[in-house]
């Protein structure tokens, strides 16, 4: 038997934020006339303690089975009011939020009458939607206490160690033969100038010795199935062996590579080299025969083809210039730059030290690129406003870090997004900077964006901490705003929903009634693409169902 609707409507004044621009008493009075509404209360601040108590008392005293709050935006206070409903014994998904501040009073400040009318319409729409809401239980699922780290550079090694030292099992996959990544090719790590090779080897040894970490080199990811807490990962090594892992969380630490300098500034790999070749020369005492050094920054970056700034090249150039000076104080070094990224107190100090040590900085512009000639570099100095001819025995190009082509492929397998430059894109730049919007997958280091060793390590430790929340809790709880095969008999098992699902959250299962779609609720992120695509209307989005949306539409237009 269907329960009779007993809807309570709470209209907030928000001090004068709502009440100052529209007629709240009129909206409240009007709410009483709406179908199913048995209780209406006007609050000064619904989100205050007294306001929340008024909701709870309203529910208890009037046996409310739906609650509508007309106030600010659901993006801030929906959890508050849902919790209030829950505490009063009402299922939190029988609550509906109507936005009459951000999307009404504040945007129609000088149109009191129209704003009041709009608020009434919005409440009417909210009440209509509330009538169609259904109680839902939160979804929980277990988490396999094991992490997969993809990439064995400094970020991957740091993340793996951090998780392993907390007692979690880690699978570390590296597609190259050896661990170490880009740091392996460096001479010294800025700012402390520690020996890069010693440092990375020490990390690699720690990882290899750690009983909780299994390392798989020359191994690539073939397929990723499953969902947060329960990923099924297939990988393959160079011998053609297939490896299968059951994984709770995944950290992407696949790094970046430097742009090939081929074709830039007469690059020949001998007299004109790139920064990694310089690191190599420094490592092997290969610079003593040179006296005049010219470094060209932004080689191949911040142009039409590659608009972004790689951030770290300025400091690695300055670092290496100082190291050259240390080895050979007689050397003359020119750094040709467009803008200098020397952010933070340490970097500023290093830049100052470089200038004191006689390293010359020459500003050039994209319109007048330096030209490499025999034993000289011709550059137009933007500050002096004249052309300089700089003697050069060795010319070093600082090329940017670029995203590996393989990102395209791997991101599709993981169902995560890339930015316009091919780097991995986080879920939210401030709120979830190390998470992907796909739950249970995290990003760190240069896979995300050009970053220094220090920044990469920081991010790796952060990603390890973020992912360990689920490993530690051993279960995940997911909002029940997911799709469901609501009318299973209507499902013909065509599999269209499963193929369209961007979250791999639908599987086709054999049932006594034939093949049917089945939603893996914990993996579903609630986009509703499946529901919109089902030609049988068998599958639908809970909490944003067609019925609920149409009730809102009709309520607005039927008046």
């Amino acid at each position: 038997m269907e329960e009779k609707l007993r809807i309570g409507v709470f209209v907030c004044n928000c001090g004068t934020n709502i009440g100052g621009f529209l007629d709240v008493p009129e909206v409240a009075e009007y709410s009483k006339t709406l179908p199913g509404v048995v209780y209406v209360k006007e609050n000064l601040f619904t989100c205050s303690e007294s306001g929340v108590n008024e909701i709870k008392e309203g529910i208890k005293n009037n046996n409310l089975n739906r609650v509508v709050v007309a106030a600010c935006t659901p993006l801030t206070h929906e959890p508050t009011f849902r919790a209030a409903c829950e505490e009063a014994g009402l299922n939190p998904y029988l609550f509906e939020f109507v936005n009459i501040r951000e999307q009404c009073s504040w945007v129609h400040k000088n149109e009191r009458e129209e704003a009041t009318q709009k608020a009434k319409d919005l409440v009417r729409m909210g009440v209509a939607r509330a009538s169609k809401l259904e109680p839902k239980d939160r979804i929980t699922a277990g988490v396999i206490p094991s992490a997969l780290v993809i990439g064995g550079g400094i970020s991957g090694l740091s993340a793996a160690l951090s998780l392993a030292n907390r007692g979690f099992k880690v699978k570390l996959i590296e597609k190259e033969k050896k661990l170490g990544g880009l740091v392996k090719s460096l001479y010294k790590i800025y700012p402390e100038n520690i020996n890069a090779e010693e440092y990375i080897n020490q990390k690699i040894n720690e990882v290899k010795k750690n009983k909780n970490i299994n390392v798989f080199t020359s191994t690539e990811i073939k397929n990723v199935g499953g969902y947060i807490g329960n990923y099924k990962v297939k990988a393959e090594n160079d011998k053609g062996n297939e490896l299968n892992f059951d994984i709770g969380v995944i950290i992407v630490a696949t790094g970046a590579k430097t742009l090939s300098p081929e074709g830039l500034f007469s690059y020949d790999g001998k007299k004109v080299i790139d920064m990694l070749q310089l690191e190599d020369k420094l490592k092997n005492d290969g610079i003593s025969q040179y006296k005049n050094f010219v470094m060209i920054l932004c080689a191949g970056s911040r142009n039409n083809e590659r608009v972004y700034c790689s951030r770290i090249c300025c400091m690695s150039a300055i670092k290496n210039a100082l190291l050259i000076k240390e080895k050979n104080p007689e050397s003359k070094i020119f750094i040709l730059y467009r803008d200098l990224q020397a952010y933070g107190t340490t970097n500023e100090e290093t830049l100052r030290r470089a200038k004191i040590n006689g390293i010359r900085f020459v500003n050039y512009s994209l319109n007048k690129l330096p030209e490499v000639e025999d034993n000289t570099v011709r550059v137009y100095n933007e500050i002096l406003g004249k052309e300089l001819l700089i003697p050069a025995d060795l010319i070093i190009l600082a090329t940017p870090l670029v995203a590996p082509e393989d990102n395209e492929n791997l991101s599709k397998k993981l169902k995560v997004t890339l930015d316009e430059n091919g780097f991995y894109l986080e879920a939210h730049i401030k709120l979830r900077p190390l998470d992907f919007s796909t739950n249970g997958i995290y990003v760190c280091g240069t896979a995300h964006w050009p970053a220094s060793t220090e920044e990469s390590t920081t991010q790796a430790l952060g990603a390890a901490a973020r992912s360990s929340i689920h490993l530690e809790k051993k279960y995940v709880m997911v909002e029940p705003i997911v799709s469901s095969v609501y009318y299973e008999d209507e499902c013909r098992g065509c599999g269209l929903c499963a193929s369209l699902c961007p979250s791999n959250a639908i599987e086709m299962v054999e049932t006594p009634k034939g093949v049917k779609a089945k939603v893996i609720e914990v993996a579903c992120r609630g986009c509703g693409i499946c529901g919109a695509s089902c030609y049988r209307h068998a599958i639908r989005m809970n909490h944003f169902s067609d019925e609920q949306i149409k009730a809102q539409i009709r309520a607005f237009l039927e008046e």
Partner: protein
């Protein structure tokens, strides 16, 4: 509402456009009071049937507000909705309703002024077109 005022529905995905709509409020960016926003999780869940329900019940304009291409939180929701909108425009033509009354806007920014100006532009266009003259049959 005056009988002559347009009745417009905006389906806003709860990411970029819905946040943009909230920010319009925070920034006190004023826009036409004749729109009603319906929040959805992703534009990918909007069906031709949702849109036609709006026109059938007397809407004069429907705007679908989604995230920028390549920036959908569900990877392909907005791309799918672009197709739904194209197809629904054909259905509108059959029903004698100008397909221009339906628009999809993909928001690159969450700032309020972008939201307000896009809404105002759309309302102005619908105002020029006037109220829908044809009854839509189901």
């Amino acid at each position: 509402m005056n009988k002559k005022d347009p009745e417009i529905i905006i389906f806003a995905c709860e990411w970029t456009p819905y946040i943009g709509a909230d920010n319009a409020g925070v920034e006190m960016q004023q826009y036409s009071p004749f729109v009603r926003i319906i929040r959805v999780i992703c534009t990918g869940q909007i069906t031709p049937s949702n849109i036609l329900t709006a026109f059938k019940n007397g809407a004069d304009g429907v705007m679908i507000a989604g995230c920028e291409e390549g920036d959908c939180h569900y990877i392909v929701g907005n791309e799918k909705c672009i197709k739904v909108v194209e197809e629904t425009k054909q259905l509108l033509k059959f029903s004698g309703i100008e397909p221009e009354r339906l628009e999809i806007k993909l928001f690159t920014e969450v700032d309020g002024s972008t939201f307000a100006s896009i809404v105002n532009k759309f309302v102005m266009k619908i105002r020029k077109m006037g109220k829908v003259q044809t009854e839509v049959s189901s």
